[in-house]
């Protein structure tokens, strides 16, 4: 049996060059220190993406974009065997994936793993994050229930309000002047074909870069002499632990999907008013709150400008905090990162309080 396996391997190796790749993998090491835990989060994000691809393809079998969208999702959720499970897994994994990506991004940031030679890894990572947000936004509309409809309607006001080119882009995205079945069909094409086609090569680049450069040492560990630094082999040690983390993650997803299966709201009706306290998913709540705070056309423009500026600065941090030995810049970068975390956390929590207050006010008949 072993001899057979060995000869098969050799046959493949002579044609695919497997030994080269494996030799590289065998040499790769992963730093071991008190922050090693954060190295797993990229892999966890990847797991969620794979789950999304798998459950997404399954949903594709029964989902019908266009005027029957709501009905097809109703069928999946309340009719087809384990349809509720596939859908709940997909919805929960979407949220957990963005959560994992945030944890991954912030841990990379604070460990300064964007420094040379890993800048492109950082840039591609930001690109992947933005693609994920668009994945989330486009996927959210697909069930065409009330929540989906109004979230998209409100969300598209942002490009709508952008001067000059805004309305044209918004109309193209909507397939009209209002969110309709044309919008669903476009978002479907975006979500299922265009975004994956952009995401996969970028993801491939991102993963290849991680393999090429390896995991970064956090600054505090980097200054230690080589003899004091511990590592573990990537293959099989880190990979084995990675797999264990994946299994734990799978269980967490299963608990979420089993205990809190994703429901379906009322069908979207253009002539109906939205339910009180309507709001986007948690990862858009920060932007939601900031836009609420700045009233008026100029206020909105200012808010959007602020966001864009923040994003640009965030993306360009490797160029700012580039030298390893200049401590000052490193400190500023860390402070900036903390500021961003605090702002995001505060505006998100505040947004939820505001929503709760609105619901309460409405219930009290104010």
């Amino acid at each position: 049996m072993k001899a057979l396996a060995a000869s098969v391997y050799q046959w493949m190796d002579e044609r695919l060059g497997l030994e080269e790749a494996l030799a590289f993998a065998r040499h790769k090491t992963v730093p071991v220190h008190r922050h090693t835990f954060w190295y797993y989060w990229g892999g966890i994000s990847l797991l969620f993406f794979l789950i999304q691809a798998f459950t997404g393809i399954l949903l594709l079998v029964y989902y019908r974009p266009g005027p029957e969208a709501y009905d097809s999702v109703r069928q999946i959720t309340y009719d087809i065997n384990f349809g509720w499970l596939i859908r709940s897994a997909h919805s929960w994994a979407a949220n957990l994936m963005i959560g994992a990506i945030f944890i991954h991004m912030f841990s990379v940031y604070f460990m300064k793993a964007y420094r040379k030679p890993r800048e492109i890894g950082w840039f591609s990572g930001i690109g992947l994050l933005l693609l994920c947000m668009v994945f989330g936004f486009s996927g959210y509309l697909l069930p065409m229930d009330e929540l989906a409809y109004f979230a998209t309607k409100v969300g598209l006001e942002i490009p709508q309000k952008t001067p000059v080119i805004g309305p044209v882009i918004a109309n193209l995205m909507r397939g009209g002047l209002e969110v309709s079945e044309f919008t669903v069909q476009r978002f479907f094409a975006l979500h299922v074909v265009v975004l994956p086609a952009l995401f996969l090569p970028l993801l491939g680049l991102h993963l290849w870069l991680v393999q090429k450069h390896g995991n970064a040492w956090p600054p505090a560990e980097e200054v230690k002499p080589a003899a004091e630094r511990k590592t573990m082999p990537f293959f099989p040690n880190f990979l084995a632990k990675d797999l264990a983390m994946w299994l734990i993650t799978l269980n967490v997803l299963a608990v979420c999907a089993a205990l809190f299966p994703w429901d379906l709201g009322e069908q979207a009706d253009a002539l109906k008013a939205p339910p009180p306290g309507i709001h986007p998913e948690w990862y858009f709540m920060s932007s939601f709150m900031v836009i609420k705070l700045f009233q008026g056309a100029w206020g909105q423009a200012f808010a959007m400008g602020l966001f864009t500026l923040g994003l640009v600065l965030w993306t360009l941090v490797p160029l700012f905090d580039s030298t390893r030995h200049a401590g000052q810049r490193g400190k500023y970068a860390t402070y900036f990162g903390l500021l961003v975390v605090v702002i995001l956390a505060v505006t998100t929590i505040w947004a939820y309080y505001a929503v709760a207050a609105e619901i309460q006010q409405h219930a009290q008949g104010l």
Partner: protein, 164 residues
């Protein structure tokens, strides 16, 4: 004797090569642009087809609502003005108003609250006057777009406000 910049299939002298290369580059670029336009234009029209239809629909200036005059006073009716969700209100004192139901804050659909005699937006609590559409409270920055209402025995005609 100077070497030519690169071997040329036709062995022409060096004086003509550089401008020829420049011409080819421009020509290639131009042809590329033509290809892009030839493909891009139909693709753009393809994607914006429903937008064009919606704009045609939105270009209507009036909508007739047969039987709507039977709407009881102190109540409202949602209807579509072209593609846009709109609100028709029959006030308690017998008057009528009609508005585009798109909230001027972030675009949610507003609703008429008969018991409080006001127009309310559930998204962020914005309020409007039900007769004039003026924003009276909450975040909306501008009044609702108002329509003209003509009531007859056959129905109600809602039309765009004619500018002078």
């Amino acid at each position: 004797m100077n070497e030519p910049a690169a071997p040329s299939e036709f062995c022409e002298d060096s004086a003509n090569v550089a401008p020829r290369r420049a011409f080819v580059r421009v020509a290639m670029g131009g042809i590329g642009l033509c290809y892009a336009a030839a493909i891009g234009y139909p693709v753009y029209r393809y994607l914006s087809a429903p937008v064009e239809k919606a704009e045609v629909l939105a270009a209507i200036t009036e909508v007739t609502l047969p039987e709507a005059q039977k709407l009881p006073s102190g109540s409202a009716l949602m209807f579509k003005f072209g593609p846009f969700a709109s609100l028709l209100i029959h006030h308690r004192d017998g008057g009528w108003s009609a508005f585009d139901a798109k909230c001027t804050h972030m675009g949610c659909t507003v609703q008429f609250e008969a018991d409080k005699d006001r127009i309310f937006c559930a998204c962020h609590g914005g309020t409007y006057d039900p007769k004039t559409g003026v924003n009276t409270g909450g975040p909306p920055p501008k009044p609702l777009k108002q329509y003209e209402v003509k009531v007859s025995e056959a129905g109600i005609v809602v039309s765009r406000v004619k500018t002078a």
